[in-house]
Amino acid sequence: MKLSIWTYEGPPHVGAMRVATAMEKLHFVLHAPQGDTYADLLFTMIERGNKRPPVTYTTFQARDLGADTADLFKKACKEAVERFNPEALLVGASCTAELIQDDPGGLADALQLKIPVIPLELPSYQRKENFGTDETFYQIVKALACTQEQTKKFSVNILGPNALGFRHRDDVRELKTILNDLDVDLNVVAPLGASPSSIKNLAKAHANIMLYPESGELACRWLKENFDMPYTENTPIGINSTKDFIRELNQIRGVNGSVSDTSRLNFDWWSKSVDSNYFTGKRVFIFGDATHVAAASRIAKEEMAFSIVGIGCYNREYARKIRGLAKDLSVDALISDDYLEVEKRIADLQPELILGSQMERHIGKRLGIPCAVISAPFHVQDHPARFSPQVGWEGANVIFDTWVHPLVMGLEEHLLGMFREDFEFNDTAGPSHLSNSKGKINDERELLEESEITWAPEATKELKKIPFFVRGKAKRNTEKFAFENGHSAITKDLLYEAKAHYAR
């Protein structure tokens, strides 16, 4: 038993949902109790998904236990296939259903459905969300991929992008542009946008691009063993990593010197320009999933000339990679999914910038340290409308802008250092281009502002109960209403009369 307050990863069945939701014409029947449907809102809210995830939950309740949960599961499978008409069916159990041992795979088999049924083993009490994505995609590939005639021209699959992945949608778009530059044909992108029929065609390609090891490594390895398909291991995030990735891909296809058009890349010059001098040696702490942390570490060191004070990842599966990297950087690696431990490490190290997930953004807020998000889990605000990849040349540009944004800029930093006692413009005031959380809502000052009209104590007390973000407006509206109606004193009743008056 382990106490957890916030978690970096959900349970493995949420990973399976990320794969199912990314794909088309695939349906997932999940044996799960009532309440587990909360997971739908991750997709419909954080990613603003415009369709329901293709998941049918059995939502069993206490009265079903011991009676007919197996029948319930069979009924759900049958109805889901009839209603949604998928090309293939995933079946699995969430944590509670795992305990009642109904065997979704066996039950679905017994139905003799006319489509492939792919059973998932998702050990909820040992593994987590990323394992769920990797394992589910692997099972789908294993069940559906088959021998195919290779395309005449060299072509690749992009494997790993998912629903709810950090910028996966945009990464695929950027990578497609780069492949086009390199004159490499794209066969299939999966899971994102793939259908079971396109999975059948994976072996038409000559090689695979393992875009995110967390959600594609098992499938890439299996395809290598069974179809002799090589795969790339460099993740093209950052300038140098993108170059390495292109080199690796060229090597696989046996071509020398094919290059991608870098005229879109601004990061290199932006980083060399004099304004960026102030980045030199900025102390950063990097935490997130291993792939993004490894990429960010290289960018931070080689392309921003930051000084890295610590790195870590929450997915234990890649602990070795991060430990190795930490050793090279002469820092300690923190492998943990306990956010309190991460917070403590950050508090001890006192970095000037955190590169992390949504969790570290919260830690940063608490500790007053700026943070840029580089990894899942992320908030709806880190799923932007605009094209904002992490991969490739445009990804590098986006990363430069994102990391620089929370920092105090060049000369401003010096000026802050020169006049430390300036009451308005000092080093606790924060960067001038960001709203200042400390000074933003000074409700006491707002409430005490001089006015012709007096407030009865009970009315002031009531005003203070109004949420701070509308309190100022409520006060002004009430005073305006009082003035216009000839009242010189504001009572509690008058406060609410003004509210009714200004109803929209």
Binding site: M1, L3, G10, V14, Y38, N50, T56, K365, K499
Partner: protein, 424 residues
């Protein structure tokens, strides 16, 4: 009064058959209630004994992570707890010891059961008793179930409050207890109004602190402010307290009838009642009048969510002129919502439970002006062209009482206005 009795004679929808469905339910489990309960009871900690899914639900359901360290957490069961390699009770004792050492401000610890803890039959009442012996009087340890196999969304609060009842002090004195958690400002407003009627000794369950929980006895009366408190009602009645039955205090009419039930129960004069309620009633009417124009004649469809659906449907149909198509509720306890059902004149479909795919078919078919549904359904339905209102906002926003009547109506006006205003 006359108007009310007339309606009572007609019976409204109280005899309407309920469409009962069993299928996929797109609802939260009772653990979700912890999101507001842990803010409401300021010295309580909610320790869920469950799985990673429970922890993930709690942080996802809130939509935002709470900035301050929250007063809830999940003791996540691991393989070794299930395989019997570790004694789950010893593990729990250790986690509780760590927690209470780190949070000495905690006076009340709730051990909250989940689906997995119930399936493996982990006896949390036993654990609570054992831990209470260790930590009482510094900390009181209680337990309730918020599991999805036992509870739906707001039933978690019901289970929590019901678990508190046996621990409440006994009293021989008369008192009035408001039951159900409300935003503090709304709670104060309602308590003030009742006090102005001349009623003394008004307390609230749950109290904001462990020390301010109400006392209960045979002379206690209680009135619900939330419709989902079935088990709590039973627990209070078992202690000898008597319930004042009333429609729920939503809107001007609902709040008036709710207060009137208290007034009648205490024999307060009509004059006094008028004196106390006329000004806020008028304000609520003024506030609602402007919004009614936007809602009049519009159709509405409720997916089941919080059990607030029937009282809200009554408010929207009677005070805002909306037309009800379907009012879905996860669970309907007629004895608690009968006063609201009586007041609904038109005959919508009232459904209990859910088969979400069938209900979506009905919803699309009826093409309502507003669909009230959970966050998993809202964007997909918007993308299909329907206008939706997030049901969860109705639980997280001050909507009870006179001063919030216009805010409640405004919650339904906003999506309609937005649709009109957007020129894309």
């Amino acid at each position: 009064m006359n108007e009310h009795s007339q309606i009572k004679k007609m019976g409204g929808c109280s005899d309407l058959p309920i469409l009962k469905e069993r299928g996929q339910r797109e609802v939260f489990c009772g653990l979700t209630g912890i999101i507001w309960l842990h803010r409401k009871i300021q010295d309580a900690f909610f320790l869920v004994v469950g799985s990673r899914t429970c922890a993930h639900l709690l942080q996802s359901a809130a939509g935002v992570m709470i900035f301050a360290e929250p007063r809830f957490g999940t003791a996540i069961l691991e393989e070794k707890d299930l395989a019997g390699m570790a004694d789950a009770h010893e593990e729990l004792d250790r986690e509780v010891a760590n927690l209470l050492e780190r949070r000495p401000d905690i006076k009340q610890l709730f051990l909250v059961g989940s689906c997995p803890s119930e399936v493996i039959k982990l006896d949390l009442s036993n654990a609570a008793e054992r831990l209470s012996k260790v930590y009482f009087p510094q900390v009181r340890v209680l337990n309730f179930s918020g599991s999805g196999i036992e509870t739906t969304f707001t039933q978690g609060e019901d289970a929590c409050l019901a678990s508190l009842v046996p621990s409440l002090e006994e009293t021989d004195e008369e008192n009035l207890v408001l039951v159900g958690s409300l935003p503090d400002i709304v709670e104060d407003q309602l308590v003030d109004l009742i006090a102005e009627l001349g009623i003394k000794k008004i307390t609230v369950l749950p109290g904001r602190k462990t020390a301010t929980m109400p006392a209960i006895g045979k002379k206690s009366k209680f009135i619900l402010v939330q419709p989902f408190l079935t088990d709590t009602t039973e627990a209070l009645e078992k202690k000898g307290a008597s319930r004042i039955n009333a429609p729920f205090p939503f809107g001007e009419e609902g709040t008036t009838l709710w207060l009137r039930s208290i007034k009648d129960s205490y024999g307060v004069s009509e004059d006094k009642f008028e004196l106390v309620t006329s000004a806020p009633r008028k304000r609520a009417q003024v506030g609602l009048k402007k919004l009614k124009a936007s809602l009049q004649g519009k159709t509405i469809f409720f997916f089941p969510d919080s059990q607030l659906e029937i009282p809200l449907a009554r408010f929207l149909s009677r005070e805002c002129g909306m037309k009800l198509i379907e009012v879905g509720s996860p669970y309907i306890n007629r004895s608690l919502v009968d006063k609201d059902l009586e007041l609904i004149d038109e005959m919508p479909v009232i459904s209990e439970g859910q088969d979400v795919d069938l209900q979506l078919d009905r919803c699309r078919e009826s093409n309502p002006d507003i669909t009230v549904c959970g966050l998993g359904l809202a964007n997909p339905l918007e993308a299909e062209g329907l206008t939706t209102k997030w049901a969860i906002e109705l639980v997280f926003t001050p909507i009870h009482g006179y001063e919030q009547a216009q805010d409640l109506a405004e919650l339904f006006v906003r999506p309609l206005k937005r649709k009109e205003a957007l020129l894309i």
